[in-house]
Symmetry: C2
Amino acid sequence: MKILPLEPLTAEAFAPFGDVIRADAGARSWLINQGSTVRYHDLAKIDTESEGGRTLLNIFRGQPHKPPLQLRMLERHPLGSQAFIPLSTRPYLVVVAPPGPLDEALIRAFLVTDGSGVNYARGCWHHPLLALQDVSDFLVIDRGGPGHNLEEQSLQHPLWLETPGH
Amino acid sequence: MKILPLEPLTAEAFAPFGDVIRADAGARSWLINQGSTVRYHDLAKIDTESEGGRTLLNIFRGQPHKPPLQLRMLERHPLGSQAFIPLSTRPYLVVVAPPGPLDEALIRAFLVTDGSGVNYARGCWHHPLLALQDVSDFLVIDRGGPGHNLEEQSLQHPLWLETPGH
């Protein structure tokens, strides 16, 4: 039984899969509004306009998942990016694999504990939302428009995730 | 001395200015992820693609403003919408006036206390971020690209805002 370890979410570790969305992740920033506000600029590549698409803003309300968790499938959106930004600081899990034909040996898992968001690049394999502890709302920015923008794939070798905090 | 009253933020009251972003504002919603998640769909008109524009995702970190507050100016973005979603549940103020030539008699103010976001429609006059109580982060979705997308206008008759909680 393979157990996937949980990694901390860093911009470097997540770069093959998309963007980490947090204020202090090295983005350009500057003062606006007569010095009362810092703008952390352009934190994610919002890639929603292909084939007549447009940007959607949604809220996902996720039931909490109780560890230990077994992964049985991943999904991807071939036509656009999808960003998740938690509207709380409750922890959640991010499970990804690189774009292209799914290689189960390359699946990685991240535990997010600081309220950071993630933006899955177009075509990046990822697990559906894995909220922890309590019902949690996430702002989700993805693509609407024509075309089939969801592929799901069952894992040939289901994986267990390391239990957070253990 | 004119004092502008603070209104509660409802979708109906805010409709002339843009969208209220909250899960229960009457949006279409449905279950996804095998029933573990509710998708509240397409909560704001993200209008960022005019004249070669694209969608930007940013974080604004606002210093708190201490009431009583005097309004001296408003601004607007003629080329795109701008959405603010608080990443905390601290209260903040929203001050707006309808698109078109600025009519100071039509300025309205809303106090947001429940973590809701707002999306200013393209060209809607609004005051820069007015966080309250403590430094507060907001996710901001606006337009990047060519063209001049900021107009500021001083008020001929500066206004005071009602003090929250009084």
